[in-house]
C-alpha cells in the first residue's frame, strides 16, 4: 500500500492521473454527440487515419501529436464531404480513410532514418508518458468543450437530431457542424495519447452506453457520461498501477464492468419494480 502512495508523489503518475480525468471529461461530452449521431464508425476511421499524420511528423521531425491532429481534422472533414457525394457510400469512404491513413503512417515510419519509435505506444496508448505540454493542451480543450457545449447545447442537440432541418432553420448550423466535427477529431487525438488508436473508441462509446441505460435525454446523458467517464478512467488507471497491468486495458475493462454492473442493476431493479406493482 505504501508503494501506491509513493506512486502518487511521482510527477509522471500525477500527470497520468490528470490526463485520465481530463480525457474522461472530454470524451464523456463529445462521445454523447458521437453516439447520439451514430458516427461511432466515422470516429474509428478518424482515429486510425491520424496514424498517417504521426508517421509524416516522425519523418519530417515535428511533434507526432500535431501531425495526428492535422490528419484527424482533415480526415473528419474529408469523410463528411465525400459522404455527401451520391455514388460514394459512407462506410466505404471510412474504410478508405481508415486503411490509407494507417498505410501512410507505416510507410513514413519505415523510411524515417535512425531511431524507430515504439509503435505499440501509439496503437495501445501510453498514458504514463503524458508530458506537461500535452496536459496543458488537454486542459485547454476540456475548458473549450465545456464552454462550447454549455453555450450552444440547444443548436448542437438539434444538429445531432436532424441536420437538414437545422440547416433550413439556421444559417449558422453549417459552421457549428464543422466545429463539432473538428472537436470530435481533436478529442480522438487526445484519446490516442491515453489509450491508443485501436482502443480510442472505448472512451467514446462505453460510458455513454452506460449513461444511456438510465437516461433517455441528450442533456442528461451528456452530463452523466461526463461524470462516469472520468471516474472509470481514473479507477482503471489506479487499478492498473496497483496490480501492474497495462493502463489502457485496465481502463477499458473498468468501463466495461461499469456497464455490466449498471445493466444488471437496471435489470434487477426493473423486475423488482414490476413484481411490486403486480402484488
Amino acid at each position: 500500500m505504501e508503494n501506491i502512495l509513493e506512486l502518487f508523489e511521482l510527477d509522471f503518475f500525477q500527470n497520468a492521473i490528470f490526463a485520465s480525468v481530463l480525457c474522461g471529461i472530454i470524451c464523456g461530452i463529445i462521445g454523447t454527440y458521437i453516439v447520439a449521431k451514430r458516427i461511432v464508425f466515422i470516429s474509428g476511421g478518424i482515429s486510425h487515419a491520424s496514424f498517417g499524420g504521426i508517421g509524416i511528423a516522425y519523418y519530417l521531425g515535428f511533434t507526432p501529436m500535431l501531425g495526428a491532429s492535422i490528419f484527424a481534422i482533415l480526415s473528419a472533414i474529408g469523410i463528411t464531404k465525400f459522404s455527401k457525394i451520391n455514388n460514394l457510400r459512407q462506410d466505404s469512404i471510412i474504410g478508405i480513410f481508415w486503411s490509407t491513413g494507417m498505410a501512410i503512417g507505416l510507410l513514413f515510419i519505415y523510411i524515417s532514418p535512425g531511431y524507430v519509435p515504439n509503435l505499440m505506444s501509439y496503437l495501445f496508448g501510453n498514458i504514463l508518458s503524458t508530458s506537461n505540454t500535452q496536459l496543458l493542451l488537454m486542459l485547454g480543450l476540456t475548458i473549450f468543450i465545456i464552454a462550447f457545449f454549455c453555450i450552444f447545447m440547444r443548436p448542437i442537440y438539434y444538429i445531432a437530431f436532424d441536420k437538414d432541418y437545422a440547416q433550413t432553420n439556421n444559417k449558422y448550423s453549417d459552421i457549428l457542424n464543422t466545429i463539432l466535427i473538428c472537436l470530435v477529431a481533436l478529442s480522438i487525438v487526445i484519446t490516442i495519447n491515453v489509450i491508443g488508436i485501436i482502443l480510442s473508441i472505448a472512451y467514446l462509446t462505453i460510458p455513454q452506453a452506460t449513461a444511456n441505460l438510465f437516461y433517455n435525454d441528450f442533456k442528461k446523458i451528456t452530463l452523466a457520461s461526463s461524470i462516469i467517464c472520468p471516474i472509470g478512467s481514473l479507477c482503471g488507471l489506479i487499478i492498473a498501477s496497483i496490480i501492474n497491468l497495462p493502463p489502457s486495458a485496465s481502463i477499458i475493462l473498468t468501463f466495461f464492468s461499469f456497464f455490466i454492473l449498471a445493466y444488471l442493476y437496471k435489470k434487477i431493479y426493473t423486475t423488482r419494480l414490476k413484481r411490486t406493482k403486480s402484488i
Binding site: A36, R38, I85, N86, N87, I151, F152, R154, P155, Y157, Y158, A160, F161, D162, D164, Y165, A166, Q167, T168, N169, N170, K171, Y172, L176, N212, Y215, N216, D217, F218, I221
Partner: protein, 246 residues
Amino acid sequence: MEELIELRNITAGYDNNIILDSVNMKIHDNDFIGVIGPNGGGKTTLIKVILGIIKPMKGEIIFKNNKTKNLIGYLPQYNIFDKAFPISILEVVMSGLMSNKKLYQRYTANDKALAMNLLNIVGLENYSNYKISEISGGQMQRALLCRAVISNPKILILDEPVTYVDNTFEKEMYGLLKEWNKDMSIIMVSHDIGIISSHVKTIACVNRSVYVHKSNIIDNETLERYNCPIDIITHGRVPHRVLKNH
C-alpha cells in the same frame, strides 16, 4: 398577391445527374400548391432547392422579402429519422423556433406554452414528455407538423404529410391547413393526386420541368401535355374535384 419567392431558370440535381432542368416558378402569399409527379421526377429535389438544402447548378432563387429566407416551415418525409435518438416530443416541436432565436438563447415559458398549445391542437398534449422512440409514426408526423408551424412561417412546405397518419387525423390536418393557409402559403408534395386536388388551389406538375396549373382540377390530357405521367385513380362522380366527368 405579394410574391414571396421566385425560382429563375433553376437547374439542379446530384453530381452530373440533372433532376430539374430550367425550372421557373413563383410562390405568392396565400398560395396552396399541390406538387405532383412521378417517382424520381424531382418533387423532393424541388423542395430541397427552395429550402436551400441543395444548391442549384444554374439559375437563382430570389427571396422577395428579405425575411422570407428564415421563415419557411418544413415537414420532411418521416422515414429519415433515427427513431432511437434521445429527444422528447416537446423538444422536437420547440426546435422549430431555432430560426427565431440566437444560438445561445434558452427557451422561455412563452415558447413552451406555444409548443403545448400546438400539441393540444393535434391531440398530443399528453405525450409532450414522451421520447420519439415511444410514439407511433402517425404521432411523430403530428409532432413534426407542429415543429414546422411553431415559428409562424410565411411558407409551409410539406413532403408527403399523410403517409403515416390515420384517416381521422388526415381530415383534421386538412382542416388545419385550410385555416393556416389564411396566414401562410403552403406547398404540399403528394403522390395521391386525388386527395391533393380537393384541398389545394393550384397544382405544380414536376417531372424534370415544372408546370404550374392554375386550378385544382386537372385531367389526363393536361397531365400528358405537362409531360407528367401519373395515373389518376379516381374517375367519375366521386366527391373529389379531380377529373371532369367523362
